[in-house]
Amino acid sequence: MLPTLSGRIQTRIFLLAVVGSIWTLIITPVLPTGASLAASYGATFSVLLVVLVLGVLWEFLYHGIQQFRWEKDWPTLFGLLTGIPEGLLVWFLFAGGAIPWIDSLPGPAFAIHFVSTWLIVWLVANGPMRVPFIHWRINGGRLI
C-alpha cells in the first residue's frame, strides 16, 4: 500500500467501522465467550473500539517508520504483521482490567475475534477496497 498519514487513519477508521463491525456482528454469537449474547456483543465491540482508537495512535508510529523507506510505501506483509503487536497490546489491556466496563473476556474468544477481524480487514484493504472507491488508492488511502 501507498498510504499518507491521513489516508492511513481514514482507512483504519472506515474499515474497522464498516467491515470490522459487520464481521463482529456475524461472528460474536459463535464465540466461546461463556456470557450472554448482549454481554458478548458488548465485549467484542469494545475490542473493536479499542483497536480503532489505539490504531489511530499506532498509525503515527507506522507513518514514522515508513519515512525510513526510500519508496515511502507500506509493504503488504507489514499490514498483516502489525496485527501481532496491536493484538497483544489490546489483549493485555483487556486481561489487565484496563477496560473498566468489561468484566472478563476469555482468551480464545478474543483471539478468534481479533485474528479473524484483522485478516478480513487486511484482505479488503489489499484489493476489494479499490472496487467501490476508485480514487482511494491514488489518494494515499484517503476517502475524503
Binding site: 498510504p3 519508496e71 510505501d73 506483509l77 484489493g127 472496487v131 467501490p132 491514488i138 494515499g140
Partner: protein
Amino acid sequence: MSESTIAPQHAQTPPQPGDLNDQLIASDFWTDQMLAEAGIPVVDVPFVTFGGGIGSFVTVDYLRICGVPTSAMRVLTPLKTPWESYEYLTTVSQIPRGERLRSDSSSCPDNIWGFPSYAIREALQGDLKQAWNVLVEPIFANYYTPRAGHAFESMEKEMYRIRYPEMVVNGQVRMVRRRVGGGYFTILTPPEGATPTRRIAYRSQWVHVAVGYPGLKFLPDLQRYRNEHNDYSKVVNAYERHEHVYERLHQRPGTVLIRGGGIVASRVLQRLIDDRDQRGLQTQIVHLFRTYVDRPHGTGILKRRKGADGWAYQGFNYPKSVWGGQLKQQVRKSEGEERARLYKEMGGTNTPVRRDWKEQLQRGRREGWYRVMIGSIEEMKPVGDLVEVTVNTPDQGPHTGTFDAVIDCTGLEADIREHRVLADLLDHSNAQRNPVGRLDVQRNFEVTGAQNGGKIYASGSATLGGPFPGVDTFFGLQIAAQEIADDLIAQGFAQKLGPGRSTSQWWKWVRNKQI
C-alpha cells in the same frame, strides 16, 4: 511498430484535394469556412484522442466505464493495436512476451481498479507462488512483475469488451488547431488512397494527446560514430533492433561493451549471459558505468536508495509512492524549483534488484568474463571487423580497447519539439513547457494555455516534469486517465464513477461483459 509515433516525419507531398493550404498552416485559429475553402471534410465528435497507444487506450477505457458511448469518441492512430509501439520497444530491448516487465502487479492497463491484480490472476490460474510473492515483497522476495504477454493479452480482451475498434480511425495526426467559436480541429492524414481527400478534420470540444515518446535521442559519441563511419551494425542502441549482435556472437566468440546502468542494461546483460549459459558461448562482457554506485545513496537518512556493484536499485522507475502515496501528494503540491528538486532527488538511472541477475553477474565477475569500467566514451572508430573504443576514466585517464560490438543501453528521450504535433502545439496553440522542458500540464492533465471553449489534455512521457511524476508508466497513464475523466465528468461529458457505478462496472469486467 509505428515509426510515426517514435520518429519525426518530414515527408513533403504535392498538393492533393482537401489538403492544408498556406493560410491554414500559418493561422493559430481556424474557422469552419477556412476548412470548407480548403476542401477538407469535417467530422464532428465531442472527444478525440490521438496517438492510439496505451495512453489513448486507458483513457478511452476509463471514459467508456464512465458511460461515454463509442459514438462520442474517436481514436486517431496509425497503430493496429494500442500496445503495438510498446511491444516493439520491449521486444527489441530484450523483453519479449514471455519475459517479465518492470511493472507493479496492480498496474493493469486492462483494469482501472487494479483488482484482481496480475499476481492474483496468476494465482487463480494455479500459480500460487505469485500470490505468495506479492504477500512478502519486497522484504523476502523481489517485486512481482507481470509477463509482457499477460499484459498484452489482457488488454486485448478489454479492447473488445469496451468496443474499442469501433472508435479507431486509421491515420496519422498532423496537427491540432483552435477553432474560432470554440473547440478544436484535429487534422488526420488517412492512409494513402483510403479517402477521397488528403486530410480529414475532426471538430471536437476535447482533444487528448497521447503520442508516446517524442523520439529516441542518441548520445553524441554514438551519433558521431555513425555519421563518420556509416556503421549501424557494430555500434547499436538497445532500443533499436539489434538481434544481429547476438547472432554474430553465436557464430564466433566476441567481446561486447555495454553502456548504461538501467533496466535495459540489465536485460541486455541477462540476454548475453543466458546465451552464454544456454548456447555455450564464450562472450566476454565489459560494462561501462558513467556513474558507479557502490552503496546506498541519497540526500539523507530518510532519502536513501539502495545501491551496489555499480547499480542504483529501485523496484520500479520511480519510488513506489509517486503512484498514490506520500510522494504523489508532495509533488502535486509543489511548484517550480521545489518540484524540480523533488524530481532530482528521486531521479537518476536505476534498475530493480533481481536475484537471477545478481547471480549471473557475480558468476561473471568470479570467472572473469564480466568486467566493469567507470568512465565515459571519448572516441569510437572501426578497426577491421571490430570497434576501437577509447574510454576516459576519472582516475586512470584514457583506456583503449577493441570490441566486436557496442550496445548502448542509455535511453535518452528527444526534445518534445521532435514530434511534429507537439511542436505545432507549442507554436500555434499557446502550449507551454514545464520546468524540465516538456509539455506543461495542470493537475487535471489539461495542456496549460490551450483552453478554447474546450480543453486539450495530454498524458504520457511528453508531460514528464508536471505535478505527477510517474506519467510514462501503465499506472501513471491510468492516473492521468482518472484525472482527465474527473475533469470531463465535471463538464458533463461522462457519468460520475461513485461506489455504486464503480462496483457494477467492475462486476461487468469480471464477467467480461461487453459495454
